[in-house]
């Protein structure tokens, strides 16, 4: 099926536009239906995906502005495939769990538009197209935070927008410069990243471009010290906003590193492993500590999210297939787990209208189902084997060990510090006697919430025990990436650092 990506991209757009004429009472059902269809479409994409093939598939290339080499150029490989599926899944889950009465029609339409942007980012193979969707994704999110958020929503929304926007502008400059270099080398304009891959840049140009792209991606991730927009955004966003922000939007940054920085600037990437890794380690340890100091449950999870993103960065810069595969897998697991955790915080907030841990205590006795699901997600978050969290974290750290054992140990403190703040959160909220009157009569999770959370629990266990169907396609593409980087690298150091895996294992 050739046009599948186009369908995947434009279906929510059309459905969102149609949503304006749907009756207010049936908009919820409409939203769930559309998101389900979109999710099924993405599953269909996976079914028709050739897992033995490492390159881009379902490629469509229609010139838009041929004078400047801008085209509607889309395709997926193993790296983006599963992030797309996760994006559609989390949108569906977010809409199912939606517990907002105010202006729900606009909210659902906004979410559908956001889905377009997310899918668009991950399927674009044209830099301008990528940039377009990258920026477009800000608008619905800005709207979600600003219109349905908490008390300081405007501050949070504007901070989110301006901060990420600033970063991406610098990235745009980088992109234009790459295109300019491409033009001066080949004589024609092209924004297709496959063309850019083939471009061998002079070393000093590579260095500058690396940092230009780095800034755009790092703010999105968000890397220390560019992370301060995130707690505000999460703190003020409605549940569904936090879920999608944590699950998908942050992944755009790390995905950018893998899609752009690594293959385009292999030498600079290798050269700057140490500074980037130091930032990532600071991010892991420091934000884990900050997470421990939080009183607000949602803020703890927001900071934990930053801390885990640090491990993803570590894996990305491992420069071998183990680490990069691990970081891609960790993106998926982090998306699902932190998404679920935000949903869980949302459910308790709906009941008690507070997120402060000191207001809770003893919830395990009152809401056992809630406590069980929370416990599973918590364990997945701290990387327990046989849950989804372990595979990615293990591979990322294992991969980076090849680069630097010392830094791996420092980054590995993530598993200790993660346990510290997560267990502290769990103990304070769920254990002990029920101290507040209001908590004694709380209802356990209802059908709607279970419908949203149970699938995530199943995925967490399934991919923890049997990650192979996901891991193998990712791994194939990543191996192709590493061997490409190895080929392209100009310096001796880079050639030595980038490890090429022996051979692609066959799928059994």
């Amino acid at each position: 099926m050739d046009g599948i990506l186009t369908i995947l991209l434009f279906f929510p757009l059309l459905a969102g536009l149609l949503g304006f004429v749907v009756n207010k009472d049936s908009i919820r059902a409409y939203g769930i239906a559309v998101a389900s269809i979109e999710f099924l479409l993405s599953l269909w994409l996976w079914m028709s995906f050739d897992v033995t093939h490492a390159g881009f598939q379902f490629v469509e290339n229609i010139p838009l502005v041929s004078d400047f080499g801008i085209s509607y150029y889309v395709g997926v490989d193993g790296i983006s495939l599963f992030i797309i599926i996760m994006a559609t899944l989390m949108t569906l889950i977010g809409i199912i769990a939606l517990n907002i009465k105010k202006d729900i029609k606009n909210l659902i339409i906004t979410l559908l538009f956001l889905e377009v942007a997310m899918v668009g980012v991950f399927i674009s193979l044209d830099a301008i197209l990528f940039y377009l969707f990258w920026e477009f994704s800000l608008v619905p999110m800005l709207y979600i935070i600003g219109a349905w958020g908490g008390e300081r929503r405007l501050y949070a929304a504007i901070k989110f927008f301006l901060y990420t926007f600033t970063g991406s502008l610098i990235m745009l400059v980088g992109m234009l410069y790459v295109a300019y270099v491409y033009h001066s080398v080949s004589g024609s304009w092209s924004f297709a990243i496959t063309d850019w891959y083939a471009l061998i840049l002079p070393l000093d140009v590579e260095k500058w471009l690396f940092w230009a792209f780095f800034l755009g991606f790092a703010i999105k991730v968000p890397m220390f010290p560019f992370h301060t927009w995130l707690p505000y955004a999460h703190g003020q966003a409605p549940t569904v906003g936090s879920v999608i922000l944590a699950a998908v939007l942050l992944k755009m940054g790390t995905y950018g590193f893998i899609r752009f920085s690594l293959p385009m600037f292999p030498d600079a990437s290798v050269l700057y492993i140490t500074p980037v890794a130091i930032l990532a380690i600071i991010m892991i340890i420091y934000t884990a500590m900050v997470a421990y100091a939080q009183e607000d449950m949602k803020q703890t999870i927001a900071y934990s999210s930053v801390s885990h993103m640090g491990v993803i960065i570590i894996g990305t810069f491992a420069m071998n297939a183990e680490g990069i595969t691990g970081s891609v897998f960790l993106m998926l697991s982090h998306g699902i787990v932190s998404g679920a955790l935000f949903l869980l915080v949302g459910s308790i907030y709906d009941r008690r209208h507070t997120k402060l841990m000191s207001e809770f205590g003893g919830l395990a006795s009152v809401m056992p189902k809630y406590a069980v699901i929370y416990g599973i997600m918590l364990m997945a978050s701290v990387g327990l084997p046989l849950t989804i969290g372990f595979v990615g974290e293990y591979l990322s750290l294992a991969g980076f060990y090849k680069i630097s054992p010392i830094m791996t140990v420092l980054a590995g403190t993530s598993i200790i510090l993660g346990a510290v703040y997560m267990l502290n959160l769990y103990k304070r909220s769920f254990f002990g006697p029920v101290t507040h009157e209001a908590n004694a009569t709380l209802n356990d999770l209802d059908g709607k919430e279970l419908a949203a959370l149970v699938p995530l629990v199943l995925i967490v266990v399934w991919l923890g025990v049997y990650p192979k169907p996901v891991l193998v396609p990712i791994d194939n593409s990543v191996k192709a990436l590493t061997s490409f980087m190895h080929e392209k690298a100009q310096t001796r150091v880079a050639k030595a650092t980038i490890v090429v895996s022996k051979k692609n294992k066959e799928m059994k």
Binding site: K159, L162, Y163, P225, T228, W229, Y286, M289, V290, Y292, A293, Q294, N320, A321, E322, G323, T325, G326, F329, A364, S365, P368, V372, M379, V382, L384, P385, L386, F390, V391, Y394, L395, A398, Y401, K402, P405, T408, V409, T413, I415, I416, V420, L423, F430, F431, G432, P433, V434, V465, Y466, P467, K468, L471, V472, D475, V478, V499, S501, K505, K508
Partner: protein, 640 residues
């Protein structure tokens, strides 16, 4: 045989999931029966596998692939050889007894079903740990038992935090978190060990790794050995990561018996035994010696704390710690099979001891202070017998080849220490044997002999249910007879583990050494008898002395940790959040925003609203632009 492997492995999981179905409903005796039966089935399967391994040889199955990335391929593979089958049998046997016991012990608990779900899940994790054929599979079980331990220590999660003076463990949930986090610290070491092996060998399968060891450089071997041992230290609660074990006594007593005495805490010893080809390498000689020395230190260190403790379960916990020290001493000195033997024997009598303590606790309405007991032997005849047997076994009583299980295993370890010419270790171990006997019987005498101090509390103790007592009998029998199988066991496991031979010299004077140890042990018992048989005579002066307070406060180590690690960490966290994050990082960002805003505010005055003014600005700007363009053009022309 493959099916048996799967049955042995997955029967506990099935039981756990079954019990989990009823996890949130009220007590249902069926869950207890079903899980116990399934564990028993697992035991039977393990026993059959045992005989299979003995007669035919190891079984190796590979279920499916787990992680595939880069050149890393990690399967779910299970290896049933002499080491693992011994562990499997011991684990399932003790588990079966503990499951049956729990039916009686937990019968009034409202979370009965949940308990069995956790307990069976633990057995499953433990089986994964011992059966896995690669290091990462072992790590699955390693973490799995950690989580189950967390769940079970914090089983009575609804209890409130209290101060350290009232309850040294603060609360079950606190103790659970402490155990989990301490284990995590060690797990990081273990993960690093795994990374080292992977990047230098390219595989994590035991056979591949062990075959490749001779090709590795000394530094790598030492690093791997140290890193793996750090992992072992956490799980086996070796100093300085030992504080969680006594706090873990907050869990229900069957849990203490199964997890924190018989099985999980021995996982560290198991790891060292499993990785014996690594620890036997000449290059890691010093690491092995360090293991032995640390083990010896922990043996006497824990025994000293047990001397003065008043909490029935904590005394046994300290003794567990002490015995783990013995095991590490043996393993570190190269006598792996003896370590394994002591592990198995210890599992039997220590589980028995704990379950007996559970009976006492059940009878005493949860009271654990031995100073408030006494004279219980009249009402708890069987429990008295069991605990007496277990204490004798723990003290290693026996002579001339006849004796309790502990006599054979512990004696052998002490003999090894002598044989290796590590006389300092030997001396300490002999001394510890005396201490062990003393504190074991101090506890027995204070609990069962002397005046009946519990009357003051208004408690009417009663014996445990009959079926529970029957269920304990296998352990009691094994605590008595297990030692007689020493030679047979040696023959069995040394097919895989390196043999260990005493030198001629040691062999000749072995009986003298044995006699010396027995003398110490008997001396300890006699001392305890003299001091405590007639009842409790408190010595206020002694209790106020520095040494006594040092020991009863566990050398102030928990407080030290709290003061130097937890509190500063919390303070630093708050500093990072309040000052660094809010006032530095975020304030910088906001500062940039504010600067732009102020600039805008200031320059807003230009916006007079008068078109003429705007036109003037525009003209000025145009002039400037033209000037710049002209100058730039001129300059660029000049450059060419």
């Amino acid at each position: 045989m493959e099916n048996l492997v799967y049955i042995a492995l997955f029967a506990p999981l099935a039981g756990s999931l079954f019990a989990a179905l009823f996890g949130m409903s009220k007590k249902n005796i069926i869950t207890g029966i079903v899980t116990s039966t399934l564990i028993f089935i697992s035991f039977v399967a393990s026993a059959i596998l045992f005989s299979h391994v003995m007669t035919v040889g190891p079984v190796h199955v590979r279920m499916m692939d787990w992680i595939m990335a880069g050149d890393m391929l990690i399967p779910f593979g299970f290896l049933v050889d002499q080491i693992s089958v011994t562990m499997m049998t011991v684990v399932t046997l003790v588990s079966t007894v503990v499951h049956i016991y729990s039916n009686g012990y937990m019968d009034h608990d409202k979370s009965f079903n949940r308990f069995f779900s956790y307990l069976s899940a633990f057995v499953f994790s433990m089986m994964v740990l011992v059966m896995s054929d690669n290091f990462l599979g072992l790590f699955i079980g390693w973490e799995g038992v950690g989580v189950c331990s967390w769940l079970l220590i914090g089983f009575w999660y609804h209890k409130e935090d209290v101060s350290r003076e009232v309850n040294p463990s603060i609360s079950p949930s606190w103790a659970a978190n402490e155990a989990f986090i301490m284990n995590r610290i060690a797990d990081l070491g273990m993960l690093v060990g795994i990374f080292i092996l992977y990047w230098n060998v390219g595989s994590l399968q035991y056979d591949v790794v062990f075959a490749a060891l001779p090709n590795l450089s000394d530094g790598i071997l030492v690093a791997a050995a140290v890193a793996l041992f750090i992992g072992a230290m956490g799980k086996s609660a070796q100093f300085p990561l030992h504080t969680w074990l006594t706090d873990a006594m907050e869990g229900p007593t069957p849990v203490s018996a199964l997890i924190h005495a018989a099985t999980m805490v021995t996982a560290g010893v198991f790891l060292v035994i499993r990785a014996n080809p690594l620890y036997s390498m000449e290059a890691v000689h010093w690491v092995s010696y360090f293991i032995a020395a640390l083990g010896t230190f922990v043996a006497v260190f824990a025994a000293s704390m047990a001397l003065v403790n008043r909490d029935l379960k904590r005394i046994i916990a300290f003794s567990t710690l002490s015995q783990l020290g013995y095991m590490f001493a043996a393993a570190g000195l190269g006598a792996y099979w003896i370590a394994l033997f002591h592990l198995a024997a210890h599992a039997f009598f220590k589980a028995l001891l704990f379950l007996g303590a559970g009976n006492v606790m059940h009878a005493m309405d949860g009271e654990l202070d031995i100073f408030k007991m006494g004279g219980l032997k009249k009402v708890m005849r069987w429990t008295y017998l069991y605990m007496g047997v277990a204490s004798l076994a723990l003290s290693g009583i026996g002579i001339a080849g006849i004796g309790f299980a502990g006599y054979f295993s512990k004696d052998a370890i002490i003999e090894v220490a002598f044989n290796e010419h590590t006389y300092v270790l030997w001396t300490i171990l002999v001394l510890t044997a005396g201490l062990t006997a003393f504190y074991s019987f101090r506890q027995v005498f204070l609990t069962f002999h002397g005046n009946e101090r519990y009357h003051a509390l208004g408690i009417h103790p009663h014996e445990m249910y009959g079926y529970v007592l029957v269920a304990l009998s296998p352990l009691a029998i094994l605590a008595v007879v297990a030692g007689f199988y020493k030679d047979w066991f040696e023959h069995f496991v040394t097919k895989l583990l390196p043999e260990y031979h005493m030198s001629e010299h040691t062999h000749h004077i072995a009986w003298i050494l044995g006699l010396l140890v027995i003398a110490f042990a008997v001396g300890g018992i006699v001392l305890a008898y003299i001091k405590y048989n007639r009842g409790l005579k408190r010595n206020e002066k002694l209790e106020r002395s520095f040494v006594y307070r040092l020991l009863s406060n566990q050398y102030y180590i928990p407080i030290f940790y709290e003061k130097t690690i937890s509190k500063p960490y919390a303070a630093l966290s708050r500093f990072s959040w309040g000052t660094v994050d809010q006032k530095v990082v975020d304030a910088t960002v906001d500062g940039i925003g504010k600067f732009i805003k102020t600039t805008g505010d200031t320059t807003r005055k230009i916006q007079t609203g008068n078109l003429s003014d705007y036109l003037r600005w525009m003209a000025g700007g145009a002039l400037l632009l033209v000037a710049i363009a002209f100058v730039a053009f001129k300059l660029s022309q000049g450059a060419h």
